[in-house]
């Protein structure tokens, strides 16, 4: 279905913070229209940067702890983590070029 794996409150530390490669995290919610719009873009990024970047998704309704910890308000919010730290973020249904250029800065 999707190139990006779902991450939860309990697996976030292992999958994102302790990752050896940069991680793109898509914070989304089920009935958020723009989230549905950006999802295929995120999947394309996952395919395009296979091996260079890990791409995961967090359902904020089901994983409120991690969403609150990182101050998620407007969704979709896309965050980039590197070495356990948040290094960048973009908010809203951005075009693929915007997401790719943001990501490239951290590779």
């Amino acid at each position: 279905m999707s190139a990006a794996a779902q991450v939860t409150d309990s697996t976030f530390k292992q999958e994102v913070l302790e990752s050896d490669v940069p991680v793109l995290v898509d914070f989304w919610a089920p009935w958020c229209g723009p989230c549905r719009m950006v999802a295929p873009v995120v999947d394309e990024i996952a395919d395009q940067y296979t091996g260079q970047v890990k791409v995961v998704k967090v359902n904020t309704d089901e994983n409120p702890s991690v969403a609150s910890q990182y101050g998620i308000r407007s969704i979709p919010t896309l965050m980039i983590f590197k070495g356990g730290q948040r290094v960048d973020m973009v908010v809203g249904a951005v075009p693929k070029t915007t997401l790719a250029s943001t990501l490239e800065k951290h590779l």
Binding site: P30, W31, G33, R36, M37, E62, P76
Partner: protein, 120 residues
């Protein structure tokens, strides 16, 4: 992690109420639905779902610490304050004509909404 079914749909009654509201509000404010009506459908289902659960159509495109408290505060109840003051809808339900994603429609049928949201 809660086990609540994330893709449960709203009641028909709330969905119809929010569908009707969305059409009327778009026409009243000279705004348009997204060129991708799938986005419109998902947001209307989300608003209706919150109306069922919280008694108010809280914006489905935000994360809240406490949904009940936010619904009571009303700031993010649709139409939210940023929409009423500046026509800003980050959910992309109501788009001004100059927005790249704005389509030419201010109407969406009940069946059209469910044709999209039945997929999730």
């Amino acid at each position: 992690m809660n086990t609540q079914d994330k893709t449960t749909q709203a009641t028909d009654k709330s969905l119809e109420a929010m569908r009707h509201f969305s059409e009327q509000y778009a026409k009243r404010t000279d705004t348009y639905f997204c060129v991708d009506l799938g986005v419109t459908a998902v947001v209307i289902e989300g608003l209706a779902k919150h109306k069922d659960e919280l008694g108010a159509p809280l914006c489905p495109c935000r994360h809240y610490e406490d949904k009940q408290a936010e619904a009571a505060a009303a700031y993010w109840n649709c139409p939210c304050v940023p929409m009423r003051e500046r026509k800003e809808c980050h959910c992309m339900l109501f788009l001004t004509p100059d927005n790249d994603f704005a389509g030419d429609k201010q109407e969406i049928a009940f069946e059209e909404i469910r044709a999209t949201t039945n997929q999730y």
